[in-house]
């Protein structure tokens, strides 16, 4: 009996020893990777080191969007188990309502990650670090500030909570601005605090700065004038585009309504960059191009007389009329007084494609392509030009639609005396080789001198005149299409122009949508905005006056002896 029990016990013990050995080998050799992985998964964490977003600057180097380091506060509610007193203490440190914090924690009680606060400023983070809460972590991130606020909102755009551009330049040039996140590997203890950094995997690559062609001073001026015009005329919206006539760079691009990019929730109405996304019928602002087409035909000069009597003119079913019978007027006068009849007659007298072709060369109907999101091309087609009604209405700006940006592009080709210069939103010098001559210089010169009549005291837009400078421009008033066709009470008021005529520096397009306070036309509503903005912009840019102002004082220059020098 005895040996049997003895041996059994021995065998059992031996089996145990062998079993343990096998298990050890098994765990240590074949399961090693799995177990090591599980261990690491509980203590080793990969953390991203966020890259700072580049600064967006204006052409003078003024900041338009700046990132500043802040912190996201997060916790693991399944482990943190904060008591009532601790929740209250935490709430006071991170400046939240204790109830709100408690609700957030209970709602996420079974989760392992919940943000308690985003974009906590530097000082808060330091206080939180000092307070030492278990399982409450700080994660560096960046918050974006827009010092110019609503003034530059549409051009600059905004980023979302994760620091990615979602609108404007922030979106369009996100890749350049964003940089690349870095990463590091850290070892954490049971309480979740970092014991040490194990590996610095990649350093973050900070985003590059972006310089826009916008001039913040002009942008501010334009924004303020547009805002007050939209408010005082009870208009629904408005846009203004100002372009440097030498380079094609956009100096100001503003819209109303706008929004505060520093605080975006609950507002979304003002976020559309209307100057590039919304196309309207340009109305009479197209007439300078019709005049240009007439001059190109060689059969018209600025003093060619056009018989507009009896003040109306029937084309097919459509009655085109002027407010008064102007009898025989020259082409220049037709432009200054904006006669529909004269331009309809001129257009029908020209080749079928003549006006369309001129508009095409000026860039109407083409994508401008400055790179901002949402840009549209408007609408222009030659498919129905064989109908006289269509041909005539094109001549005074109906039957096509353009965005303020496109109209600025078209007027830029006049300001450059016939060269098409691509518009650009970047401060870097534009590519000179992309310039293209589209109109004859002398013809454009003649058109410009005709357009000067518009801002003369007896023209349609004396409000756009700037004392000391010659302004060439054109008003436009286009009726809006309602459910029953064109409406009489809803319309858009345009003014497009350039200044000074001799050596143009600025091209500007103003659009006021649905003004309703008494005055309505482009001359009364949009032109004064042009005049005021142009006057102050020219002064800021230091452009010398080209014409002498009426009361000039002649002062003998007296040599001044400089004393106390040397």
């Amino acid at each position: 009996m005895r040996p049997w029990r003895h041996y059994t016990l021995l065998v059992v013990f031996a089996a145990c020893v062998v079993g343990v050995c096998v298990r050890v080998v098994y765990l240590g050799v074949s399961d090693r990777d799995f177990l090591q992985g599980q261990g690491d998964a509980r203590s080793i964490r990969k953390e991203t080191i966020p890259a700072m977003r580049g600064v967006i600057l204006d052409r003078q180097g003024e900041p338009l969007a700046v990132s500043t380091p802040v912190f996201a506060v997060w916790t693991d509610p399944s482990r943190a188990q904060l008591g009532v007193a601790e929740v209250e203490r935490l709430a006071s440190v991170i400046e939240l309502e204790p109830e709100a914090l408690r609700d957030r924690l209970t709602a996420a009680a079974d989760r392992e990650f919940v943000y308690l606060k985003r974009r906590a400023p530097w000082a808060t983070a330091q206080r939180l670090k000092a307070a030492k809460f278990n399982h409450v972590y700080l994660q560096p991130e960046y918050r974006r500030y827009y010092p110019a606020g609503e003034t530059t909102a549409h051009v600059v755009g905004v980023t979302n909570i994760d620091d990615e551009g979602i609108e404007g330049s922030e979106y369009a040039f996100n890749r350049q601005l964003q940089g690349r996140h870095g990463g590091k590997v850290v070892l954490k203890d049971l309480k979740g605090s970092t014991i040490r950094d194990l590996d610095y995997v990649t350093a973050p690559v900070y985003g590059q700065d972006l310089s826009l062609s916008i001039d913040l001073r002009l942008q501010f001026l334009a924004y303020r004038e547009l805002k007050s015009a939209v408010a005082s005329h009870g208009a629904t919206s408005g846009s203004l585009v100002m372009v440097d006539a030498d380079s094609g760079q956009i100096l100001a691009l503003v819209n109303q309504p706008s929004y505060n990019p520093n605080n975006i929730p609950e507002q979304s109405r003002g976020m559309r960059n209307r100057a590039i996304t919304d196309a309207y019928e340009p109305g009479s602002t197209i007439k300078p191009f019709t005049a240009l087409a007439a001059l190109e035909s060689g059969r018209y000069r600025s003093d060619t007389l056009i018989d507009t009597a009896p003040g109306y003119f029937r084309v097919g079913q459509k009655l085109i009329q002027d407010p008064v019978n102007r009898q025989n007027i020259s082409l220049a006068e037709s432009l200054a007084k904006s006669s529909q009849v004269a331009f309809a007659k001129v257009a029908l007298d020209l080749e079928e494609m003549a006006v369309f072709d001129v508009l095409r060369r000026a860039g109407i109907g083409d994508f401008v392509g400055i790179g901002l999101p949402g840009e549209t091309t408007g609408f222009m087609t030659d498919s129905q030009l064989q109908y006289p009604v269509v041909q005539a209405s094109l001549a005074y700006g109906y039957g096509l639609s353009v965005t303020p940006l496109q109209l600025a592009q078209a007027y830029l080709s006049l300001a450059s005396y016939g060269e098409k210069i691509p518009l650009s939103i970047m401060a870097s010098a534009p590519d000179e080789t992309l310039r293209e001559r589209v109109f004859d210089e002398r013809i454009v010169q003649e058109v410009l001198s005709m357009m000067e009549g518009v801002t003369a005291p007896d023209g349609t837009a004396p409000g756009a005149a700037v004392p000391g400078y010659r302004v060439a421009g054109k008003t436009g008033t286009a009726r809006l299409v309602g459910p029953e066709g064109y409406t009489d009470e809803r319309h858009v008021a345009w003014f497009a122009g350039l200044v000074p005529v001799e050596q143009p520096r600025l091209v500007m397009v103003v659009l006021i949508n649905e003004p309703n306070a008494g005055l309505s036309g482009g001359g009364a509503v949009a032109a004064p905005v042009f005049g005021r903005v142009a006057q102050r912009s020219l002064r800021l840019l230091g452009v010398l006056p080209e014409v002498q102002i009426a009361d000039v004082e002649h002062v003998e220059s007296v040599p001044v002896a400089l004393e106390g020098r040397g």
Partner: protein, 88 residues
């Protein structure tokens, strides 16, 4: 021949000791550099924060709004209503 083996062993022992000490030294250095990097990163963050704050402050002070308020409110400046052109 009698001394060859002990010599080899002694040499190996010395080498092992040196490499061990070297490793300790290296680990220490890595840690020191790491903490220095952490320190520098915090410093960089603080400087970046200050830089962006100053940038914003400069922007606010040099903005057209501010200049106009100061010019009109504090310095009693006006836009000229009557333009006089002076010819030398």
């Amino acid at each position: 021949m009698r001394f060859v083996w002990p010599l080899c062993l002694a040499l190996l022992a010395v080498l092992i000791l040196t490499s061990g000490l070297g490793q300790v030294e290296q680990a220490h250095e890595v840690r020191a550099l790491y903490s220095e990097m952490g320190q520098l990163q915090r410093e960089q963050d603080a400087l970046l924060e200050e830089h962006s704050r100053l940038l914003l402050e400069r922007g606010a002070l040099s903005s057209m709004q501010k200049v106009e308020v100061v010019a009109q409110g504090e310095l009693d400046m006006l836009f000229p209503n009557r333009v006089r052109q002076i010819q030398p």
